[in-house]
Symmetry: none
Subunit: 139 residues, 2 copies
Amino acid sequence: MKRTVLIFAALIAALLSLFQLSKYSYISGDSSIEMIIAVIAVVFLLIGLYINKRRNQGKKDPESLGIDHEKIKQLGLSSREYEVLQEISNGLSNREIASKLFVSESTIKTHVSNLLIKLDAKRRTQAIQIAKKYRILPE
Amino acid sequence: MKRTVLIFAALIAALLSLFQLSKYSYISGDSSIEMIIAVIAVVFLLIGLYINKRRNQGKKDPESLGIDHEKIKQLGLSSREYEVLQEISNGLSNREIASKLFVSESTIKTHVSNLLIKLDAKRRTQAIQIAKKYRILPE
DNA sequence: AGTAGTTTGGTACTTTAGTATGAGTACGCT
DNA sequence: AGCGTACTCATACTAAAGTACCAAACTACT
């Protein structure tokens, strides 16, 4: 909501400065009012576009990146298990995960087994599907 | 692109009518120019907001629902292979896919092998990841 | 009718995944 | 100091996945 306040403040400031500009131009005479109006129109059009762009950027991210950390705790997944889960969904084998995390393949197998129990999955592919259903993995 | 043309036409029309309005107000005298400018600002701000809203409505749907059937053809995936791919991403085992499609497990293995070659994947988990990258599977 | 691709299925094999069990280390908490 | 939890790793095993090769039947195309 801070952003909205700032935007409104900027809008009011812009309006006031444009009033000043219009007065100055009015004193110095003649029919350049069209130009001023055109400039104002363009400026506020751009402001409108900018505001909406900002708003939509804010909308999209929470939907796509929203990972339910609560659910992770609820399922009792440890941080290491969660790391392994992420690598599984990246399509890595146990051996590849082991070398990436600098541990033995046995360790990864242990993590995977515990992972499958906690997610109530029979296979790693099913674990991926369930994890995405729970929104604990990005889609 | 038709939409863009229409919007620009509407914009120009609005500008011209506002010019007329400003001239009329100029003749009838005094310092109500501020009001006109304010109206113009608000109107164009709203126009900017409207344009961007329109644009973003068109953007969201094709991204989430779009499955690239062209890419499937391009990769040379047969319809049966694609069915198997879908079941893999649902977390099913070869045996489960076999009974779901009423064929033998050997057949599924053959399909999976061909699938992996065509997707350039080493494992079924990697195949899922690649398929989603290519947008041939829903996320 | 012949050619090409798809679907189906088999055998035999290698590799990877997953289970079960035990056990040592480390860290924080009370 | 003792307790629980997480992390590590090993062995031994079973199950599933994946490879290689072959082959029959069934489209569809021209």
